[in-house]
């Protein structure tokens, strides 16, 4: 059984799997059951394991292809599939190691703040419940956008079509390709104002963000007209 090697997904992928709906089954029936439930692997790249030869290979392949299409960046090789809750390492430990790793990666020799976690609520219009993300887990808007895209793609219906990508936050926009609806990520800052995500430097954003809200483009008028215009004019591949 081959698992595609590739760029690492980054811990934020796993972070997002906290209680995500739509945990498709793995195992030999994985592909089939995942399809049955219509999870369509948009949420996590469930390791689709076909431990037997023949038989389920077609299903396996199909879901695997879906998985590939859903890689957040189609330009990169498909990332190694990650399974929810695997490896079975306590999330405390995973988070701790991730924090330690990111601080080493930054080459900082000084004391790691250990990240007072900066959990903020994330709401999305129409979603039945809110989520929380730790902003300290991300180093840039790009990482956050990927994370939010995955987190909230479960609230949008169905597949992602042939592009697979939620093209998010190039200009701070989340665009649902299928629905053709525009989504705008906004946040409430320390002053209580609702701001468009992406205007200020990342660190400043993390300091001032109290909560996140993914609005529909139509709701977000008045926030950033320029950005919305840009988005409407963009050409899709």
């Amino acid at each position: 059984m081959e698992v595609e090697k590739g760029t690492k997904m980054g811990f934020e992928e796993t972070e997002l799997r906290l209680g995500l709906p739509g945990n498709g089954g793995g195992g030999t029936e994985g592909g089939e059951s995942a399809k049955k439930r219509g999870f369509s692997a948009t949420v996590d790249l469930k390791l689709n394991l076909s431990s037997k030869e023949g038989g389920d290979d077609t299903n396996h392949e199909k879901t695997q292809t879906e998985n590939n299409l859903l890689a957040t960046d189609p330009a990169k090789p498909p990332a190694k599939a990650q399974v929810v809750g695997w490896p079975p390492v306590r999330s405390f430990r995973k988070n701790m190691l991730a924090v330690q790793k990111s601080s080493t990666d930054q080459g900082s020799a000084e004391k790691v703040p250990g990240g007072n976690a900066t959990f903020v609520k994330v709401s999305m219009v129409g979603a039945p419940y809110l989520r929380k993300v730790d902003l300290k887990n991300y180093k840039s808007y790009h990482e956050l956008s990927g994370a939010l895209g995955e987190l909230l793609s479960s609230f949008t219906i169905g597949n992602c079509g042939s592009h697979g990508t939620k093209d998010f936050l190039n200009e701070s926009r989340l665009i649902d390709l299928l629905n053709g609806t525009d989504y705008v990520p906004t946040y409430e800052d320390k002053d209580g104002d609702w701001m468009l995500v992406g205007d200020v430097p990342w660190d400043m954003f993390v300091e001032s963000c109290k909560r996140l809200r993914i609005m529909k483009g139509t709701e977000a008028t008045g926030l950033a007209p320029r950005a919305m215009e840009k988005c409407k004019n963009r050409s899709f591949k």
Binding site: M1, V3, K8, M9, G10, E13, T14, R17, L18, G19, L20, P21, G22, N23, G24, G25, G26, G27, T28, E29, G30, S33, K36, R37, G38, F39, L47, L49, S51, K52, K80, Q82, V83, V84, G85, W86, P87, P88, V89, R90, S91, F92, R93, K94, M96, L97, A98, Q100, K101, S103, T104, A109, E110, K111, V112, G114, G115, N116, A117, P128
Partner: protein, 571 residues
């Protein structure tokens, strides 16, 4: 047995401390039941939903110490939704209302709020010990309440909890009159602590024997602490970064020379390896070493450290130690009983240890009986060798990062290897397996694993037979947790009475259907059969043929629980 007055019996029962033994004592006859129940001080509740707090209080009015466990084990791996349950408040509330003389509380995988912590601190005048393991729902404010109000606090032990950190002054809340601390562990806290208050607290705690610091405590403070607490037995170093040529470092070395009692060492949440030689002084006495949160310690510095630890009995380490490092362990630590090798990069899955390290450990460490091993690959040959070398395993948990990987050499399933383990290790009580596994391995387990109490299975098996072999064969099974296996209703319903002899069963991403679960719930009223439904796709009127994503069932005397969230249905 009417010859002895009650007081004599009670005195005799005082010598019976294990819960299992006391349970047996209480079943001998009615008078013994009465005396034992009224005198029992310590109770362990493995599933907080198995019994109501009122019932526990009624039976054990003299209760002073209670251990409660909440969420299923797989909650550790994000398989259980956040608000599933495990709320401790009803217990605290009941104890407070009934004026119980609670002194010790130990919780694992439960949700405890600041309000509950405050209630504890105000309701139990003799409260002495709070141990929280993998819990959540509270902040440093709750800790401040405990610190402020528990005048006789001996132990505050926080292990791997998710604590909301208000950068509190909770440490400063220990009054000057509090001098009773024996054990303080706040290694899991993410925020800063008042360092001056910490040093003063240590200085006025002559009985302090166990201290585990978080990352916010730097080396110079560590040095001050050690000067004031030379009798420490268990030390968790926080941040260990400094210039080895500095005076602070020299002072630390002096302080460490005075700490002749340290037997257990952990932490190094951030470490400068060049400062490690200071600890070589401590190493020869160590029986327990936990470097599993110290990714900064590896390679030659790590091996140097290990070579000084000849008395080690317990080692928790990251896989960056490599097979080579494990060979050093095997050559040095002849008293080793327990080892845990964690992945240093759990998100990518490139473990640095293989079957070679495992075999080395089993060859070199004759007393090894408990292992948790995350590795890159495994072979049947290695497992068979391990089985031969180490028939004494009581806990054997192997996790291959690629979950259905076959034998790395022969490409066969790992059935034979695990079969050898269960056949040889007759005292095996806990087992986790991974790798490519067919129904055959379950046949072996059912045949040989007579003492098995807990088993975790993932991505294994071919047909219902696998689970059936297990349920049929393992008479002492208490906890079974399964994910992503092709087991369905035929297995689930084969022996429904079995589940009343067990604490719990977890099945997720398997083939059991709603109909199967309903049928089980109907036949077994003493079980709570919970369906955890996170999507909107399934509702209670759904087709019985639909597969259930997550099912958790457990025996209970308390009936359906009242605190279940919307997405949990008890059938």
């Amino acid at each position: 047995m009417n010859y002895f007055p009650d007081e004599v019996l009670e005195h005799i029962f005082d010598f019976v401390t294990s819960q299992r033994d006391r349970n047996s004592v209480s079943q001998v006859c009615k008078p013994w039941y009465k005396i034992e129940s009224s005198s029992r001080q310590k109770v362990f509740v493995g599933n907080c939903y198995a019994i109501s707090p009122e019932r526990v209080i009624e039976r054990f009015p003299g209760l002073k110490s209670i251990t409660l466990k909440g969420k299923p084990h797989f909650a550790d791996f994000n398989l259980v939704p956040h608000d599933w349950g495990g709320f401790v408040h009803p217990w605290i509330d009941a104890f407070a209302r009934n004026n119980m003389g609670l002194e010790e509380l130990k919780l694992k995988r439960m949700v405890i709020s600041d309000d509950s912590l405050e209630l504890i601190s105000r309701s139990f005048a003799n409260f002495k010990s709070l141990v929280l393991v993998s819990c959540e729902g509270f902040s440093t404010d709750g800790l401040a309440a405990i610190a402020s109000n528990c005048s006789f606090l001996r132990e505050l032990d926080l292990q791997e909890n998710d604590v909301e950190d208000h950068r509190g002054h909770w440490l400063s809340c220990f009054p000057d009159t509090c001098t009773s601390l024996v054990s303080l562990n706040f290694a899991c806290l993410k925020g800063d602590v008042n360092l001056a208050a910490l040093v003063r607290l240590v200085a006025r705690s002559p009985n302090l024997r166990s201290l585990r610091l978080n990352h916010a405590v730097p080396l110079d403070i560590l040095q001050k602490i050690l000067m004031r607490a030379p009798h420490l037995v268990d030390l968790g170093v926080g941040s260990y970064v400094h210039d080895p040529d500095s005076e602070t470092y020299n002072k630390l070395v002096t302080a460490l020379r005075k700490c002749k009692s340290v037997k257990s060492l952990s932490g190094f949440l951030e470490a400068a390896p060049q400062c490690l030689p200071a600890f070589h002084l401590i190493c020869p006495n160590l029986t327990s070493l936990n470097l599993s949160y110290a990714p900064g310690i590896h390679g030659t510095e790590l091996r140097k450290l290990i070579r000084h630890c000849r008395k080690l009995q317990r080692l928790w380490i990251l896989d960056c130690i490599g097979d080579e490092g494990l060979e050093v362990v095997a050559a040095t630590c002849k008293d080793l009983q327990e080892i845990r090798v964690f992945p240093s990069d759990p998100f990518v899955g490139n473990a640095a240890v293989t079957e070679v390290g495992l075999v080395a450990l089993s060859s070199g460490c004759p007393k090894l009986h408990s292992i948790l091993y995350f590795c890159q690959q495994m072979t049947n040959a290695a497992l068979i060798t391990v089985a031969k070398n180490s028939p004494n395993f009581t806990r054997f948990r192997l996790c291959i990062l690629d979950p259905t990987k076959p034998d790395a050499v022969t490409n066969q399933p790992l059935d034979e290897g695990f079969g050898a383990i269960v056949q040889s290790c007759k005292g095996l009580r806990r087992l986790s397996m991974s790798g490519l596994l067919t129904d055959q391995v379950f046949l072996y387990i059912g045949m040989y694993a007579e003492q098995l109490e807990m088993i975790s299975i993932a991505f294994a098996g071919d047909t219902d037979k696998g689970m059936q072999y297990l349920l049929n064969g393992c008479k002492k099974l208490r906890k079974l947790e399964i994910r992503d296996c092709p087991f369905g209703n035929a297995a689930l319903l084969m022996d429904v009475g079995k589940y009343e002899t067990m604490r719990s069963l977890w099945m997720s991403s398997c083939n059991v259907t709603l109909g199967g679960c309903k049928s089980l719930a109907k036949k077994m009223p003493m079980l709570n059969v919970e369906i955890i439904n996170e999507t909107d796709q399934m509702d209670i009127s759904a087709d019985d043929e639909q597969k259930v994503e997550k099912m958790f069932l457990y025996r209970t005397l308390a009936g359906r629980r009242k605190d279940a969230p919307e997405f949990v249905w008890t059938l």
